[in-house]
Subunit: 325 residues, 2 copies
């Protein structure tokens, strides 16, 4: 692969944002953000660790890698504006496949009006994609995990466990069944970061927020820890897509609690803001579900607990639940 | 390695910059840049492609990886303020070694008052470090490669080819000779980005600028292309460190023309600004040398040429020179 020609082929012909002062082509990119804060997140995906060619086409590798990064911007309450991509390309990958990776990123970027403004292209033994995504948020309006308060409602967008179910279908079902499970397969291959929803929530003054990259068990614990409060979830209220109902109860529990990469949002808001949240959900065509409450319990603060069946159990980050005192 | 504990161990206890609104610990970092533009660059280094354990200790891997990125900020005329690090860690690397990598980055970051504000830690087969560096530049004051004008002086900071010579010594000389070549070994392992110098140049209105990451032959061509002018260099004027004089004439030519990773700066300025440049060089304790001029020659614009011995030859990006019409 001729690196120079390759970089030329992936370089945008124009930039969508007027705030891109300098894009690809010099030593660095320049962005102008006026009177807003700049959000930045960086994620890396490695072949056969974070994806395999078997279940993920090159197009979807690019799409998902960028989606995961944009989701971090959503989880801060921001808007994504630009990204940089560093890719390590093994010799066995064909140039056409690498183009498909960039096409997957570009199609998602287009739907958010984002620009690719830089990055790096190097050779190596294992396909590795590092993305740095840049976004904006109004000063003082970022949504931190530490913003929960007692009596807040815990909400979640969309449905839980779809991506893990989709991966299971791709790995273990026959292709004739794929049609029936197209929804969860799509959710695995082309997750949609919740930027429009979180932008529509601008009227809500305070919100703790996290995106579901590792599973809600993990993310609920992170909010509980950062806010030093108890997050109390009710499993019966979890939004589960009908596709998951064809699988065992145990699979449903595992996927919805600890299936990662749904890139939905989990957050907490004051109860009196629930109507505003529902309005924002409607406006952005997003489902939201109340799944719990925030409590201040000295001996349980910093942890998440769950009502499941007739039991009240502590919820580990891994999704494992166990009865405790 | 316990990833959670590892991340805790590398997370800064405080941030040096008040403009770091949120560092490590939420979904993304937040930076506040008021009335200045934000510069961003991203570089990736892969084990056995960009460095080998034989010549580069973990400490120096981190140091050099960050230095390369900071140098891109210098090459835009900016000041570096923060960075994000994504690292792919193979199982065979010990945690202590990974800490040394971060220590190398942190020591360099400290000398520039920079903060590490985020990143990612994943496992994989080949040690890979991607760094995104963030800097600032006054609006409209960025130094592009395209800023050269006819009759400009072409200058270079420091000496050329030191890093390549240092690598050669590490690979081919006996350890007893290392003392004698400590200067070039240091230049290879701990290159110093030219931020103080370029900041001291703020009085110069116009400057084309590039950093020497691939060799001056490449960078001079990039300025010539971007400015669509001819860069005419004089080999006799090249600043060469005495250490290089112990090697063959051909080695000196190769290293100074196409030895990469010196992370010096090459630029062009109006002749009447030379005194200001010298003053900035003095103030920042940097050597600067005139090595050529910019010309407008219709049939040669976009290329670099060099006087060498009694010949006037076109200089390829690779450093290869050849006689032409």
């Amino acid at each position: 692969m001729d690196e120079f020609k390759f970089i030329q082929s992936i370089t945008p012909k124009y930039y969508r944002h007027p705030n891109v002062i300098k894009g690809i082509g010099d030593d660095a990119a320049i962005i102008r953000h006026q009177q807003v804060d700049t959000i930045m997140a960086m994620d890396t995906m490695v072949e056969s660790v974070h994806f395999s060619k078997k279940t993920t086409k090159p197009y979807h590798i690019g799409y998902r890698a960028l989606a995961a990064n944009i989701s971090d911007i959503a989880a801060m309450g921001g808007k994504a504006t630009a990204y940089l991509v560093s890719i390590v390309i093994p010799k066995r990958w064909r140039e056409g496949q690498i183009h498909e990776i960039y096409q997957g990123m570009n199609d998602l970027a287009q739907s958010f009006n984002m620009d690719m403004i830089g990055g790096d292209t190097v050779t190596g033994e294992q396909l590795t994609i590092s993305i740095t995504v840049i976004g904006t948020v109004q000063q003082g309006k970022a949504r931190y995990r530490s913003h929960a308060k007692p009596d807040d409602i815990v909400f979640v967008t969309g449905t839980l466990g779809d991506s893990a179910c989709g991966l299971h279908v791709l790995l273990h079902c026959s292709e004739t069944e794929f049609d029936q499970y197209q929804h969860v397969i799509n959710r695995h291959q082309m997750p949609m970061p919740r930027i429009p929803f979180i932008q529509a929530c601008h009227k809500i003054n305070r919100m703790a927020l996290n995106d579901i990259s590792d599973g809600i068990a993990n993310e609920a614990n992170e909010i509980a820890e950062a806010s030093n409060l108890l997050l109390e979830l009710d499993y019966e209220k979890f939004p589960i897509h009908p596709s998951l109902r064809n699988f065992s109860e145990q699979q449903q529990v595992n996927w919805s609690l600890s299936g990662g990469e749904d890139f939905e949002l989990v957050g907490t808001i004051p109860a009196h803001d629930w109507a505003i949240l529902e309005e924002a959900a409607k406006k952005s065509n997003t489902d939201v579900t109340k799944i719990g409450v925030v409590k201040d319990r000295k001996n349980k603060n910093g942890t998440a607990w769950i009502y499941h069946g007739n039991e009240y159990k502590q919820l580990d980050k891994s999704g494992y639940t166990h009865l405790k005192g």
